[in-house]
Symmetry: C2
Subunit: 365 residues, 2 copies
Amino acid sequence: MTDPRPFNFSAGPATLPEPVLRQVAAEMLDWQGSGMSVMEMSHRGREFISIYERAEADLRELLAVPTNFHILFMQGGGLGENAFLPLNLSRGGKVDVVVTGSWSRKSAAEARRYADVQIAAEGNGRAIPPGWQLRGDAAYVHVCTNETIDGVEFHELPDLAALGSDAPLVIDCSSHLLSRPIDWRRVGLAFGGAQKNIGPAGLTLVFVRDDLLGHALDICPSAFNYATVAAAQSMYNTPPTFAIYVAGLVFQWLKGFEYAGKRGLAAIEQRNIDKAALLYAALDSSALYENRVDVSCRSRMNVPFFLKDESLNDRFLADAKAAGLLQLKGHKSVGGMRASLYNAMPLEGAQALVSFMQDFEARHG
Amino acid sequence: MTDPRPFNFSAGPATLPEPVLRQVAAEMLDWQGSGMSVMEMSHRGREFISIYERAEADLRELLAVPTNFHILFMQGGGLGENAFLPLNLSRGGKVDVVVTGSWSRKSAAEARRYADVQIAAEGNGRAIPPGWQLRGDAAYVHVCTNETIDGVEFHELPDLAALGSDAPLVIDCSSHLLSRPIDWRRVGLAFGGAQKNIGPAGLTLVFVRDDLLGHALDICPSAFNYATVAAAQSMYNTPPTFAIYVAGLVFQWLKGFEYAGKRGLAAIEQRNIDKAALLYAALDSSALYENRVDVSCRSRMNVPFFLKDESLNDRFLADAKAAGLLQLKGHKSVGGMRASLYNAMPLEGAQALVSFMQDFEARHG
């Protein structure tokens, strides 16, 4: 393929950096002279161990993960973690959840199987709710820091200590992980599926502070006991080796990424800010489109929007596809449109989307 | 790469068919004109749904899976299933396990978290034990039909009814799944990780008879509740989409595979029989090598063997690698060597191994 690829706005699995895909293709039959595809390597062999160790080190460097955090490469996605979290951390006690949208609501429901769950605050999917009721003896406080479906993002992590709680903060950061720094001083555990900014679906990353290990309930499956996984360097179970390899290439790509005079995570964050600013400005100046999320917590990654005339939805999607703008349909629970602007989406993708939208509005608005 | 690739005897992740790897590489940036890599597709989009549906249909056809069985595409591997099985099927009651080696022993230990587990019979890792003590009211009987580490395989599935039990038979068939037919009349549930005969690690296949759904314990994580996964066509959680795609290509390759005048599963089974016969004949006629498994249950897939002079082990492995024969080291719990002869291993691979072994013996025996 020599033509430029279309821009893919899928909410996940999602667009990946083209240089990474090219390298994956080039190495498919023979990884670095080993005579094997990465898919064919024993996870215990020195070739794969070297891939894993570099991926772990690069991820730790990119996000400045402190040494007292373990990085676990797991399976099961966000919905799996919704169970594994309380199985590992709740001790069967109290869990406080702040509901900001669909994902945190699901997390709360699943945690009820294992713990005494309280909704500390509940938003309407358009803003972060105020007035959190935190219990002093909660095992942890769960927050989804970017609601993929609703498009609500925390631009600063909550400071639980300032809110009078000394419970550890758990963040589900699936859909903005690696799009910006994480303030680890405020976090006890962070988790996210890979299929947004990182790599193929089927890989879940868990960052867990070491004092939170070792408290799993007896009913926690061994393969998902964080202490077991940590002790085995994520090799207790056969890990999703190929997904880890692709993720590792994405980490290498990101380390070398340059934009606006910056490099690495700072560069990608700046580009993410710029892409989102472009799109929100277009939405806010339009008579046809609208985004309903409070300006203070609009997501840089997932931008849901609606056509005020919904009878134009199908035509919008068809015309967008014809213009090389893919997977813009909104989540079925919300309707409308959604543009996901993950790390691998270039600035030109956001520009092309805005141009198309303005042209579409001129024709149909 | 134009030279022939080395032969890779890894026990898993393991060698894959070269035409599949070539197609994966060729489609990496643009799957069939979609403008996307399969890694980048929403699992809800029509492109990926078509990949999933074809993979499911091809697998069902290859193994002649009856219509009253669901095929689930899951995550978590064999060690995950060791927990998910009793969570879904035991109802907190009795589970009988036949121990034939390392994997069935692990399964029994994990099931104890959730059920009253009895070892119905225990072998020495070299034979299938006789005299199974089956409880009439067991929720299921668990058997590992190919012990990857020990090299013990059931060449006929046990007939529980003939043994006086009407409990469903559960088979862990990870390391010989798709290498031979399955007699579904004797099976209630079968499961296996993909990373042997099927595709990348991180995908687990579960075949479950519909009357066994709907009895999960409340503490079963939703993402691993078989009824939930079945009702959502394996899309409750974001599935490991890329691994499913690769598996689907392997299914297509297998459907067209021809050998000894046969086609499809019958052809691959015949080639597996021939490869294993070659290697066992060489072992049995050697003064240097030995396989210790009873002839009646020697695995076609995983052939552990020992050098009677173990001081030659390192030289054997180094010379083998130099001869283009990779990953022959035995599992750390057993020692010695292990040659895995999965579907993608050509007859020439087994022949090359035997020639090398005979030459090595002539030099060092």
